[in-house]
């Protein structure tokens, strides 16, 4: 579904991604982890064309993301993204946040869009908050709305950029539960996160990045059991000790 082929990216003279190659198959849940500045957020932002890259190729469902002829808005409508800081649109109510993309991009009628929105709000457990505004919700609630917003577009895959990093500890679980349920329903997911418990429970594969390179790319049991690289071992020992 998502295929990275030797992707490299520079910000000016600084290299952010170094020859990254990997793939996420349909229905797979892949967790991307690594220290700060390793390029993990940049990697998934390339997947839906939010970040351009200078070398290599990236394919989503067979479509080349880096090709200048590709219709990016159309492509992005098929990929859902959830951000670290939720990024709900503060001037729109929850229900309006969910229907905006449906109406403007997918061309659904207001009734259709609203129906779908309420359905998904229910799925994340927030139908009561439909008329509220993002500023009136807690962080955990906002992030669940953000997930619903992405799901409203009926995406083929979902990208998560550190979805729980900005949340207070007591709200992390409510978001992780939604993500676990989503994985259980067979959604293709690529998740950047530090939540190793989640990774262990739900992911099929783990990618470990360091300084822009993919250092480890193996299935979950192997990663937690016996990672090959010393860097990954070091990282794991630090993360898992608390």
């Amino acid at each position: 579904m998502i295929e990275f082929k030797n992707v490299s990216k520079w910000y000016g003279a600084f290299q952010v991604l170094d020859d990254c190659s990997t793939r996420v198959s349909k229905g797979e849940v892949v967790v991307v982890c690594g220290p700060s500045g390793s390029g993990k957020s940049t990697l998934i932002k390339c997947a839906n064309g939010l970040e351009p890259f200078q070398k290599g190729e990236l394919f989503f469902n067979g479509i080349s993301v880096g090709d200048s002829k590709t219709n990016l808005p159309k492509l992005r409508a098929q990929i859902g993204m959830v951000f670290q800081h939720f990024e709900l649109f503060p001037h729109l109510s929850v229900i309006e946040n969910l229907t905006l993309g449906q109406m403007k991009v997918l061309g659904r009628s207001p009734d259709e869009a609203e129906k779908k929105a309420l359905q998904l709000l229910d799925r994340v457990g927030l139908s009561v908050q439909a008329k509220k505004f993002p500023g009136q919700l807690s962080g955990g609630q906002q992030q669940r709305v953000a997930i619903a917003r992405a799901l409203c577009m009926d995406p083929m895959a979902m990208l998560f950029d550190e979805p729980t990093s900005a949340l207070d500890p007591e709200m992390v679980n409510e978001v992780l539960d939604v993500m676990v349920a989503l994985a259980g329903d067979g959604m293709t997911m690529m998740v950047v996160t530090h939540e190793m418990g989640f990774a262990r429970k739900v992911s099929d594969r783990v990618i470990f990045m360091d300084s822009g390179k993919i250092v480890e790319d193996c299935n979950t049991d192997e990663f937690f059991g016996a990672p090959r690289s010393p860097r990954a071992q070091e990282f794991l020992s630090k993360i898992l000790s608390h």
Binding site: L50, G80, F89, P90, H91, L100, G101, K104, V105, P134
Partner: protein
């Protein structure tokens, strides 16, 4: 002190005999408001376009907008007013130039005044729009794009609605500045409020009464605009959103 106070002057007939001095001044207020409103509408439209363009990241466009901004910022407004009124008709092709010169007062003064003021204030509006857009978290644009909106749609549905709410207070003071700046049009013959106060002073010799009245009227107008804007702010307020910090800006 040799000054004859005469507060009753307002009810005496003014030399044009079309009404009392008070009517005369109120008429001036009318011209002030008309000029300010039209200039402001022009400023908003242009300023929105230029301010938004400056955030697109396109080098060529940015340079043009920078030149536009600097041009209107570094020439005194009065000089600009003279350029519009005296110089522009001479530089236009013969027919247009003659048409402009043939415009009878008050239109001959109003049109250049509105154009001059509108373009001048558009630069201020553009600055507010630009800094408003840049003050939004970058993630907002990314979130809009991630849902599949095009750049234009992202600006229209996500960025600009928030920017409008953020910049409403500074825009209010720019509108008040527009009102104050209409007084410069007296130099090209527009009989707005200050011009009429001066005329009243010349005809009636009641210097302080004339200017005191103009002062009070300007202050009341100010108050009215501020109250109206406050009401607007309350109506469009986003629940749960705390406004952004305001920076100290020089000028008036």
């Amino acid at each position: 002190m040799n000054y004859n106070w005469n507060w009753g002057i307002f009810f005496e007939l003014e030399p044009g005999a079309s009404g009392s001095y008070l009517d005369y001044l109120i008429g001036g207020l009318g011209w002030t408001v008309v000029t300010a409103v039209f200039a402001w509408m022009l400023a908003l439209v242009l300023g929105l376009v230029v301010g938004t363009l400056r955030t697109t990241g396109h080098k060529g466009i940015e340079r043009i907008c920078f030149a536009y901004t600097e041009l209107f910022r570094n020439i005194p407004l009065l000089v600009q007013m003279f350029l519009w009124y005296f110089v522009l008709p001479e530089l236009l092709p013969q027919q247009l130039g003659d048409a402009m010169k043939a415009m009878t007062p008050p239109w001959g003064s109003l049109v250049p005044a509105v154009l001059c003021l509108g373009l001048f204030m558009s630069v201020r509006v553009a600055e507010q729009v630009r800094s408003g857009i840049q003050s939004l978290p970058r993630g907002q644009q990314l979130a809009g794009l991630a849902v599949g909106l095009t750049r234009t749609q992202t600006y229209r549905y996500v960025l600009l609605p928030m920017v409008f709410r953020i910049i409403l207070p500074p825009l209010t003071s720019e509108f008040l500045n527009t009102i104050k700046n209409t007084s410069l049009a007296l130099t090209i013959g527009l009989m707005e409020l200050t011009a009429r106060a001066r005329a009243m002073q010349e005809f009636s010799f009641q210097v302080f009464e004339a200017f005191a009245a103009a002062t009070v009227i300007y202050l009341l107008l100010n108050l009215l605009v501020v109250l109206a804007m406050r009401k607007l702010e309350q109506r469009i307020r986003v629940p749960g959103f705390i406004g952004s910090q305001q920076q100290t800006v020089a000028g008036h």
